[in-house]
């Protein structure tokens, strides 16, 4: 297929950045989206131009490192699919594709399509864990946990921390990410002792970062490659209220 790419190029955080057009006359439908960018980069390098920087690692949809706005949609057109798992058969011959970095105040651009998501790590650091030192754990089966509860906790824990939720949100809010971790631990008995402190600290850290606030657009849920549901946001809000009141 012949595709026209309009890619955001920005040499550094200080640079204003601009869209640059590249023609790709010979894309195979079996290529992954990132393989198509690899091919472009090989050509740019051979021509002595600077290749396009983008983050990626596992290319299996699990590390959360990749993430592009493709035609205005985080991770592109296919539901429940990360950018690295998207294949070119999802596009039409002759199409123009707009490729941009995550757009959010809390995720400043490092270079081209690469952004800084360290704000996510800081949210986890203030409380997204169970305080249990190595070697002090009781036997794993000493604490039975119902299958449904374990499953629901796993639904929340499946978050890959890619940031698509923030990028797609008109407000740039991080509620889906933060609530997924709060819910994962609040659902499990292991998470109970620190439940209120954790919620309070994580929500407050989220508010200190440059994220926007949540107005229930639910666009986060629609683009989440792991299909994390907004039910967890409601749960976080209840948890937070309870923590504040107690």
């Amino acid at each position: 297929m012949h595709l026209t790419l309009k890619i955001w190029r920005q040499s550094s955080p200080e640079d204003a950045g601009q869209l640059v057009t590249y023609e790709m006359p010979d894309v195979s439908e079996h290529m992954s989206f990132l393989e198509m960018l690899d091919v472009l980069n090989e050509r740019l390098t051979e021509q002595g131009e600077d290749p396009v920087s983008f983050d990626h690692d596992c290319r299996e949809g699990i590390c959360g490192m990749c993430g592009l706005m493709i035609n205005g949609s985080a991770h592109g057109p296919r539901a429940a699919t990360t950018t690295c798992q998207l294949h070119m058969r999802e596009f039409e011959d002759g199409e123009t594709i707009l490729i941009e970095p995550w757009r959010a105040e809390a995720f400043p651009v490092v270079k081209d399509l690469v952004v800084d998501r360290s704000s996510f790590d800081r949210i986890i650091q203030v409380g997204g864990y169970v305080s249990v030192n190595t070697g002090s754990a009781p036997d794993a089966n000493a604490l039975p946990i119902g299958k449904e509860v374990a499953n629901r906790a796993m639904d929340a824990a499946a978050c890959i921390g890619c940031g698509a939720c923030v990028a797609q949100c008109p407000n740039g809010a991080a509620q889906l990410f933060t609530s997924a971790k709060i819910a994962h631990l609040a659902l499990l008995p292991q998470g109970q002792p620190e439940r209120q402190r954790r919620t309070q600290r994580m929500v407050e850290q989220m508010e200190q970062e440059a994220f926007g606030s949540c107005s229930n657009f639910r666009e986060c849920e629609a683009v989440c490659p792991k299909e994390i549901d907004v039910g967890f946001i409601a749960m976080m809000n209840r948890e937070y209220l309870r923590a504040k009141l107690s």
């Binding site: 290319r59 299996e60 864990y129 604490l143 374990a150 824990a157």
Partner: protein, 639 residues
């Protein structure tokens, strides 16, 4: 060089307990006087960093991704083994030990393997306490499955995302210590050298991947938890960033590299679809429980699979290994697939796969039952290939997956360079010549949570009160200078070939000649071809941009430069090992039926290589003889 594995004496069942008692302790007030550098934040690095910080050490942890949570461990799907015997099916520490020694084809160190099996049970306790949501039964207890042909159900799992959940557990423990100020985290930072002062590892040189600044850090001990080197093949199931640079730089500074030729080729991966292929995706081993593997009997049979009648299909694993059938171990299944391809029987548009067919299972159990078992894997396959595996058989082919070889370590997990520890996939210690499924996660976490934090104290206690070496020391300046020089050299080439084009070419040489089957002649050729290509690389590689900025081409160039040297050592090691064992198959050493033939008399040792200047032929061999007091070597047979 004198190799001392420092294996404690006494009955194997009590060695680790007794040894823990014998080791010197560092008292709590003194622990904070020690700075420990940990390179890597995968299962091994994150668990070690968190545990040592909890004990009181000041930890400095480095990774090249933008967050420690993204280390390659995140991608592990299947599960983690532990000898809990929760299913009451006869499992025990001894059985896990036995299976691992045998599975490794009698090329691992017994004492280490026993300790691994022993601490496996504590890993599950620790992970559950952290909130890792393992699969459970209706009664609320933990569920297990049998994995990779094991006869007991000892594998714990969290859907198809076990690595992710275990890593997030360790990452969260790490995050807690970052918040407590006990771990300083350095993401997007790549280690490019070890600094040695008076024969002891005292620090590292790193490059900040955002700004390009080269600087160094000093510490009282250095721990490498930097993963495996499967990406020497270019195409592998590993994450794109996985590399050998940290281990290789340590090797150049004196750490021995053991058994580099032991690599694991996983039998069920999706074959490449074209020239542009950038990595290979693993399809879980569990698929072989219900899928049947076959190729057409006639070479060149171009009919769609559904139109080939059963009588014209060769279910070659079932035919050759009636007892185990499609469930033979990884190395056996992989070699069998290669044999079919070599005979011209491979299928698919690129003629590079074999069928993994679910039609019979769907007929027997119904599509819903198959979807319940493998639905997410089938979806993943469909996303990648555009084909529906409920209707047409999957196409699969073996791909590089894991490396058993790595830096040599003693029982304490210390390399031959004093003060330098190596944990996780980066070391060579526990899997011998072949790793069993679900045992890498176990080993990474055993090393990080339960072994290194104790053994490192024994070393540090001997250096209490000694003066710190600061990163102003001339050894640091020299090492930084070397690194800057290397970066400069990579940038100065004014050819036109990209880094990836060299990496692909290197990978295909290693894959063809040091992959699933090896010959003396082929290995010799490969060594020469790699050395020749390495010269062209340094002359003609084009690395755009500069060193003082975010530059992904430069990152890759540095890694590929080190893969060139490693690849030569792999071939040399494979050439010297005149036997077949585990993942190492030498065509000259096979039985009449084409099975691997070990030579215990001459090769019951770990081959430990000393750096000799970069050419494989210059490396110097040291041997650690392996003794089998408990599990007597026998021939693996799956007939």
């Amino acid at each position: 060089m004198q190799l001392d594995a420092k294996i404690p004496s006494g009955p194997i069942e009590t060695r680790w307990q007794k040894h823990r008692f014998d080791m010197k302790l560092v008292n709590p007030a003194n622990k904070r006087k020690f700075d420990v550098i940990v390179v890597g934040s995968g299962l091994a690095g994150a668990s070690a960093s968190a545990s040592m910080a909890e004990m009181g050490y000041d930890v400095h942890c480095f990774c090249f991704q933008d967050s420690p949570r993204r280390a390659h461990s995140i991608a592990a799907q299947g599960g983690i083994n532990a000898a809990k015997n929760y299913q009451n099916d006869g499992d025990s520490i001894y059985r896990l030990f036995y299976d691992t020694v045998k599975g490794g084809d009698f090329r691992a160190r017994e004492a280490n393997v026993y300790r691994l099996a022993e601490v496996s049970v504590e890993i599950i306790d620790q992970a559950v306490a952290q909130g890792v949501p393992f699969a459970r039964e209706y009664g609320g207890l933990l569920d297990n499955r049998s994995f990779g042909g094991a006869q007991v159900s000892r594998t714990f799992y969290a859907r198809g995302q076990t690595g992710q959940q275990l890593l997030l557990g360790a990452y969260q423990a790490l995050a807690r210590q970052i918040d407590a100020g006990k771990v300083t985290m350095y993401p997007r930072t790549e280690m490019l050298d070890v600094v040695v002062v008076d024969g002891r590892a005292r620090g590292i040189v790193v490059r900040d991947l955002v700004t390009g600044t080269v600087s160094s850090y000093s510490g009282d001990a250095v721990v490498l938890a930097t993963g495996g080197y499967s990406n020497v093949f270019f195409l592998s199931t590993n994450a794109k960033g996985c590399n050998v640079t940290a281990a290789w730089r340590a090797h150049r500074k004196g750490a021995l590299f053991a058994n580099p030729c032991y690599t694991q080729i996983h039998p069920t991966c999706i074959p490449p679809s074209g020239e542009y292929q950038s990595k290979l995706t693993l399809m879980s081993e569990s698929l072989r429980n219900d899928g049947r593997i076959w190729v057409p009997k006639e070479a060149g049979d171009n009919r769609p699979p559904g139109q080939i009648p059963a009588a014209e299909r060769d279910y070659y694993l079932e035919r050759r290994y009636p007892a185990f059938g499609n469930l033979v171990p990884r190395d056996v299944a992989s070699r069998a697939a290669k044999k079919e391809k070599d005979a011209g029987l491979a299928i698919g548009p690129q003629r590079n796969g074999v069928y993994l067919d679910f039609a019979d299972a769907i007929g027997r159990l119904g599509q819903d039952a198959i979807a319940a078992r493998y639905g997410n894997l089938f979806d993943m396959y469909e996303r990648i290939t555009g084909e529906n595996p409920y209707e047409v058989p999957m196409r699969i082919y073996p791909a590089p997956h894991y490396t058993m070889g790595g830096l040599w370590v003693d029982y304490h997990l210390m390399s031959s360079l004093p003060g330098l520890y190596v944990i996780g996939e980066a070391n060579f210690s526990d899997h011998g010549a072949n790793r069993l499924g679900a045992s890498a996660l176990m080993q990474g976490l055993a090393d990080g949570y339960f072994i290194l934090p104790y053994t490192i104290g024994n070393f540090l206690s001997q250096h209490l009160g000694e003066e710190k070496v600061s990163s102003d020391h001339s050894a640091f300046r020299d090492a930084e200078g070397e690194v800057a020089g290397r970066v400069e050299k990579l940038l100065s080439g004014n050819g036109t070939r990209t880094v990836d084009s060299f990496h692909r070419e290197l990978g295909s040489i290693v894959w063809e000649k040091c992959g699933m089957a090896r010959t003396r002649e082929g290995l010799l050729e490969a060594e020469n071809e790699i050395a020749a290509l390495q010269e062209v690389f340094h002359r003609e590689v084009k690395v755009p941009g500069s060193g003082v900025e975010f530059n992904q081409s430069l990152e890759r160039a540095g890694r590929v430069a080190d893969f060139f040297e490693l690849a030569q050592l792999m071939c040399r090691d494979a050439r010297e090992r005149e036997e077949s064992c585990g993942g190492h198959f030498r065509e000259e050493h096979q039985t009449a039926e084409g099975e691997a033939k070990r030579d215990d008399e001459n090769f019951s040792h770990a081959a430990c290589w000393e750096y000799g200047g970069g050419r494989g032929s210059d490396a110097i061999l040291h041997k650690e003889e392996l003794e089998f007091e408990y599990v007597k070597p026998s021939t693996r047979s799956y007939k």
